[in-house]
Symmetry: C2
Subunit: 338 residues, 2 copies
């Protein structure tokens, strides 16, 4: 089934079931209000949502309405943990090679993961508001999963059973700032692994992640075979020393495919899922980067289509905008309202 969350003025929004073709939706009212609630009581609530999903897909849901991605929050608008991996080792290699550094051997054995801010995610069509263009604004097209409760010490294989939902993510990074990550948006819809059919294989999604920057398709990256650490491995890595709790979001890091050797030259025909990678390629090929980072007004679209050309998660479609900080009244800066 496919789940989404509509904006309703609250911090956690209103849960929806969305039809397979993303054309129609139905509020989950009467089953659960929020996705976090469902994740905390999955075995009881998800069969009820599945029934609603079946009815919706068969055109039997009586209060269905047209689905609008623009009204969506992130499927999980805030989370108790957002841990982003660097599970495509070719991305790490490329970035390091551009600055003449080696990839530490430990990277092959253990995924690099970092904690991101998870108190306030962006919806799929929300502007990315930033104070300045000089920060090195970059998109980062990724996959992400939402977990069940997974116990300390689990194996990667066991951790696969702890994957409840799959989504797309845009992890907006500021390359000229440390730490770089600033805001994360997710696709309109989160999808259960069973809904992905044969494209989902043991923690990897074998489909093409498309990134379109200012209307130009810059990335058509295979999300499956080159994922060095699958999502079960990423979760198991977090579980080495402690439990992971229901509703934790795990990211894949930038989806990346290795370069292809041709007549002694390396090329990257599938493009890129973040600008930093394009700049690394330019540095390797020409000695310096020539592609600049994003400017105010730039747009980024991130999506995955299935083998029939249909949207799986809906598209992330965001515009970079200036954040006008109002510094008028003290009280406007600390407030109760979401």
């Amino acid at each position: 089934m496919k789940l989404a969350t509509y904006k309703d003025g609250s911090r956690d929004g209103q849960l929806l079931v969305v039809s397979r073709d993303l054309a129609s939706a139905h509020y989950a009212t009467g089953i659960a209000d929020t996705l976090q609630q469902v994740l905390e009581d999955w075995n009881f609530l998800s069969p009820q949502l599945q029934d609603l999903s079946d009815a919706l897909n068969q055109g039997r849901a009586r209060h269905a309405f047209p689905f609008e991605a623009a009204r969506c929050m992130a499927p999980l608008p805030r989370a108790y943990q957002w841990a982003d991996g660097s599970s495509f080792i070719s991305h790490v290699e490329l970035m390091r090679r551009a600055r003449g550094a080696e990839v530490p051997v430990t990277f092959e054995a253990d995924p690099l993961m970092y904690q991101g801010r998870s108190d306030d995610f962006l919806g799929p069509c929300d502007d990315v508001r930033l104070p300045s263009e000089d920060l090195g604004i970059d998109f980062e097209a990724e996959l992400a999963v939402v977990t069940a409760d997974v116990a300390v010490g689990c194996t990667p294989e066991q951790a696969l059973d702890g994957i409840r939902l799959v989504m797309l993510a845009n992890d907006v990074s500021l390359r000229n700032v440390t730490p770089g990550e600033v805001a994360t948006a997710f696709s309109p819809v989160a999808v259960t692994p069973d809904e992905l059919g044969a494209a989902w294989q043991r923690g990897r999604l074998h489909l093409t992640l498309q990134s379109t920057w200012n209307g130009r398709k810059v990335g058509m990256c295979d999300a499956g075979p080159d994922m060095t650490f699958h999502f079960g491995q990423l979760i198991a890595h977090l579980c080495k020393t402690r439990n992971v709790r229901a509703g934790v979001i795990i990211g894949s890091g930038a989806v990346s495919n290795p370069g292809v050797e041709h007549k002694g030259k390396t090329d990257w025909p599938k493009g890129y899922s973040c600008i930093a990678e394009k700049r690394a390629i330019e540095t390797i090929q020409d000695g310096q980067p020539k592609t600049g980072y994003m400017k105010f007004g730039d747009t980024i679209r991130i999506e995955i289509k299935d083998k029939d050309g249909c949207q799986v998660f809906g598209a992330i479609e965001q515009t970079i905008a200036t954040s006008v900080v109002v510094k008028s009244r003290k009280s406007s800066l600390v407030s109760e309202s979401p």
Copy 2:
């Protein structure tokens, strides 16, 4: 007022109001079930809790009962963000000096902050369960605050108004692992800044943080004057590029006082708030560390007493224990129950 959360089998526990002397408590039932609820609707709910607190302190609360720290979860058992700073620059200096490195000048202007895992905090008396003693197990005694909604672009001064509660924290770190942080415990009680009286001065707490390792007092560190960045500055740093939402926890990093020069030799008479710092001191003084990290069975106690010698937050009292990972049944590793 003083607030705590009792274990009740749920993920978020049951909210309590605790008397000033920590002797008695009263459920907040009828006002709010969880602390997160209160933080999201502070202006409406906190006056009701304050009334209950007043009644409790005057011995007028009819259903009061003796308060037991051992029954506590962390005041906020899970949070949407846990950002830990390195706001005591003398700690950073010491660690770097021991390995012959300089402190980057940027550290004086901008606090170093990292995101910690916040889906599953430890209660003040919960064992710290770890798979091996070889990980470099260290305690880290800190202060922490819980925020209101604070808007992007706020000043440090404005951010001070966004501090709802103050707590103690033990950020257990594994020094031989990257990243090092593994589990965080908080004091039994979270306290509103007004309750701290004159000891709370513009985002700094002017009291002594005591750390007792295996019954031996190893740290009596001043938490106030040497805090390079006060909590308003730490929050404002996070707010540079985005909002901070209600219920975010911000840590001070290890409380640390600079060394004292005496007859050409540096000494640290106030002791230490983490073992890594003691080892750095030994390295500077004798060329190598001689104090080992924590072993299974070791205990750590972290507390702050007011000028009358009374506990302010209650003590964090934890034991390091082995985590026996049961790998028997697959189903035991992915489960619904908290």
